[in-house]
Amino acid sequence: MGLATFRGGVHTYEGKNLSEHCEIRPLEFDGEYVFPMSQGIGAPSKPIVAKGDYVLAGQKIAEPGGFVSAVVNSSVSGTVKAVEPRLTTMGTKTMSVVIESDGKYETVEGIGKERDYTILSKEEIRNIIKEAGIVGMGGAGFPTHVKLAPKNDEAIEYVIANGSECEPMLTNDHRLMLEEPERIIGGVKICLQLFPNAKGIIAIENNKMDAVERINELIKDEPRIQVTTMRTKYPEGGERQLIFAVTGRHINSSMLPADAGCVVDNVATLAAIYDAVAKSTPIMEKAITITGDAMKNPANVRIRLGVSYGRIAEALGGFKEPPAKIICGGPMMGMALWNTDVPVCKNTSALCAFLTDEVTIDPGTHCVRCGRCVDACPIFLVPPLMAKAAERRDTAKFEELNGMECIECGTCSYICPAKRPLTQFFKQMRRDVMTARRAKQAAEAAKKAEAEKKA
C-alpha cells in the first residue's frame, strides 16, 4: 500500500533528532502558575475564583464564556495571587488567574479514580470532557467537547488521531506515542463509543516508524482501530490535508470535518480524553518539547500547565548563547517570543530556541514569479497574485483569489526563493476581511434591530 499523502506541501529540515530520543521527564516547579482565560479558539473563559482563594489541583477556576469556550482547571494547589491581565504567548496581555503554588499538589477529591467508561452514556462522556477543560492540544485549541458533538453521531465514519507531528523540531507527540500509547488508544476507544459507525485511525508520518510499530502491536485485537502511515511532508497534520490523506475526502474553509464524516483530534488531546474519562483527571499536565540549537539540553518534559517557559528552559540548563529567536510552538506556525516569561497553555506544545534567525539571513528580492509557491500550496492557491492584492490592501481581489481558504501554514513563505513574507501578507489580509465581515454583520444586526423597534 502506498503512503497516504496530499498534493503540494514541502519537505522541510526536520531537526527532530535533537530531542526524539529524549524520554519525557517530569519537571516540578514551585512558585507562580498563570492560567490565561483564553487558550485557543473560542470565547474567553470566566474566572470563578478571586484573589486570596485557596484552590486545589484539578479545581475548576474558570467557566466557559460561551458555547465555544472551555473550562480552566488549576494544575496546582495554592493561593490565588491575582486575577489580572498577563502576557501570553500571543504577545498580548490576557486576563489570567495567577496561583502561587504551595508545592503540595493537593488534589480535589476523586481525582485519579478509575472509571469504567464503557458503562457511561454519551452525555456523561461529553460532560466529563467539558468539565476536564479539554481543548485541541495540537495548536488551535478548539474546545474538544464541541468537536465531539456533531449534529449526527451516526454520520461520523472516522475518528482520526492526528499523530503526524509534521512541524519540524517537535517530538512531544512522537514520545507520547512511544511511551504512553495506551492512553491514546484509550482516547480513541472512548471516541468510538460516541460514534457507533466510526472507524478509529491513528495517522502517523513515516519518520516515526517506531511509533507506527508500537501502536500496531497494541491494536492487534482492536477491530475498529488501525494505523495509517503517511508520507513525511509539511503540512501533513493540517486538518484538511490529514482528512484527505486518510480518507480521500475534501473539506474547505466553510466545512467542518464532521461534514466529511470525520472527527480529528491530536494524539495528546486523545490522551487527555482518556485521563478525564477513565482516570477522572482533568487536564493539568502536558508533555512539551524544549529544543533548538540554542538549548544546552534539548528535552521532552512533562510539566504542569501554567508554569512559564523561561523557568522550564532554565531548569534544563538554559541557553548555550543568547538565542536569536525563540519560538513557542513549531518553526512553521509557532509564535516568536520576545519574552519567555509566558505560561505554558493547553494548546502550546514546544519551545524552540535558535542561535540564528533564518528569516533575517537573506533580505530577498522582488517576486520573480517562479511559481514554487503555487506548486507547494496545499490548498492550490496562487500566492503571487494574492500577494499583489495584499500589497494594495485590495480585500475584494484577495477574496476573489480564494484568499479566505488559506490555512496560514507557511509553506509559501518557506519555499519562496525571493524570501517574500507571503504568509504574513495573507494573515493580515484574512484578519482585515474577517474584521470587515464582522463590522458588516454588526451593522446589519443594528439596522434590523432598529427596524424592529420602529415596527
Binding site: G248, H250, P323, K325, M333, P384
Partner: protein, 319 residues
C-alpha cells in the same frame, strides 16, 4: 519583567520561522549554467568572437543595471544575477557577425527601458531580452539578418539561415540541424546543446516541462497541418530557428509567463499557434520572439481566467 535568562532581546517575526535554502540568485545561476552548453557550441562553431559577444552583452546588461540604480539611488541588485541572464539571452539571439555595439545597445534598452523603468526585477510585463531583440530587429534590420559569417566546419557560401533556406528549398541534413552545424544566431543552432540545458533546468526543478512541451506540441500540430502533412517539413521547422531556444529559455521566463498551471498551458498553446501563424503567413521567417512578446501581453488576462479551484471546492471525490 524578568527577562534575565534571555540576556538579549530575540528577533520577533511572523511565522514561518524556517526558510528554504533556495534563493533568486541560485535560480538565476541555474539558468546561466543551463545556457553554457549553447554558448560553448556557439564559440566552437562560429568562433571566439561569438563568446566575446555573449560576455560583452552580459557585462553591459550588468553595468546598465548598476549605473541606473546608482543614479536613481536605488538598492543595487546586480547580485541577483538576473541582468546576466537577460544579457545572455539577448546575445545568444544575435547573428555571430553582429558588430558588438548592436547587442550593447540592446542590453541597455532591455535593462533600462524594459526592466528598470517598470520597477526592476519581477515588475516588467514583457521579457527584456525579447523586447530588446525585437527593438534591434526593427532598428538594425540589415545587421540583424546577416548570417554570412564563416562558421567552422561549415560551408559559408549560403548566408541564409535554415529557416530561410527551407523557403529557398535548400535544407540541411537532420543531423546538422540537430547538433547545430548550420548558420543562425549564436545560441539557437544546436538543438542538442539546448536539450542539455533544458534537461539541467528540469532536473534542478527550475522549470517544469509544461510550457516547452505544450508550446512545441502545439507548434508541431500547426506546422504539420500548415505544411500539408509533410513530416519532413515539420522536422525541419522544429530543428531550425529559435523555436527550441524560445521554448526553453524565453517562453519559460518566470516574470513574464503565467504562474497558474492552467494559465501556463493556455499561454504555451497561444505561443505555439502564434509562432506557426507568423512563420507560415508573415513575411518574416522568424516568429518566436514576436509570438512570445504578444503572449507576454496576454499573461494578466490568462491568469485571471485560470485561477485554480482551491482544495475542497472541487466536489467531494472519494478515493
Amino acid at each position: 519583567m524578568d527577562n534575565d535568562i534571555i540576556k538579549s532581546l530575540p528577533h520577533v517575526s511572523s511565522s514561518p520561522h524556517f526558510r528554504s535554502k533556495l534563493t533568486t540568485r541560485r535560480e538565476m545561476l541555474d539558468v546561466i549554467i543551463a545556457m553554457i552548453p549553447i554558448t560553448i557550441w556557439g564559440a566552437y562553431h562560429f568562433g571566439l568572437y561569438s563568446l566575446l559577444v555573449v560576455i560583452v552583452t552580459a557585462a553591459t546588461a550588468v553595468a546598465a543595471e548598476y549605473i541606473y540604480e546608482k543614479l536613481m539611488h536605488l538598492p543595487i541588485t546586480i547580485g541577483d544575477l538576473s541582468a546576466i541572464v537577460t544579457g545572455m539571452i539577448l546575445s545568444l539571439n544575435m547573428p555571430p557577425s553582429i558588430p558588438i555595439w548592436v547587442p550593447m545597445i540592446g542590453a541597455v534598452f532591455a535593462i533600462v527601458v524594459v526592466k528598470q523603468l517598470y520597477g526592476g526585477l519581477g515588475q516588467n510585463f514583457i521579457n527584456p531580452a525579447i523586447a530588446a531583440r525585437c527593438f534591434l530587429h526593427i532598428s538594425f534590420a540589415g545587421l540583424m539578418n546577416d548570417f554570412s559569417a564563416p562558421a567552422i566546419g561549415f560551408d559559408a557560401v549560403t548566408g541564409a539561415t535554415p529557416l530561410a533556406a527551407i523557403r529557398l528549398g535548400t535544407p540541411y541534413s537532420y543531423w546538422d540541424l540537430f547538433i547545430g552545424n548550420t548558420p543562425g544566431t549564436i545560441g539557437e543552432v544546436s538543438v542538442l546543446c539546448l536539450l542539455i540545458g533544458i534537461g539541467y533546468m528540469i532536473a534542478r526543478n527550475i522549470i517544469t516541462p509544461r510550457v516547452p512541451i505544450t508550446y512545441i506540441a502545439t507548434f508541431s500540430i500547426f506546422m504539420f497541418i500548415a505544411g500539408g502533412f509533410d513530416f519532413n517539413y515539420l522536422i525541419l521547422q522544429l530543428l531550425s530557428g529559435a523555436i527550441i531556444f524560445g521554448a526553453c529559455f524565453m517562453a519559460n521566463d518566470y516574470v513574464t509567463s503565467p504562474v497558474t498551471h492552467g494559465g501556463q498551458v493556455v499561454y504555451a498553446i497561444f505561443l505555439g499557434l502564434m509562432t506557426g501563424v507568423i512563420r507560415t503567413f508573415a513575411p518574416s521567417a522568424e516568429g518566436v520572439s514576436y509570438a512570445i512578446l504578444f503572449g507576454n501581453l496576454l499573461v494578466p488576462i490568462i491568469e485571471r481566467y485560470t485561477i485554480p479551484k482551491p482544495f475542497g471546492k472541487r466536489g467531494n471525490k472519494k478515493v
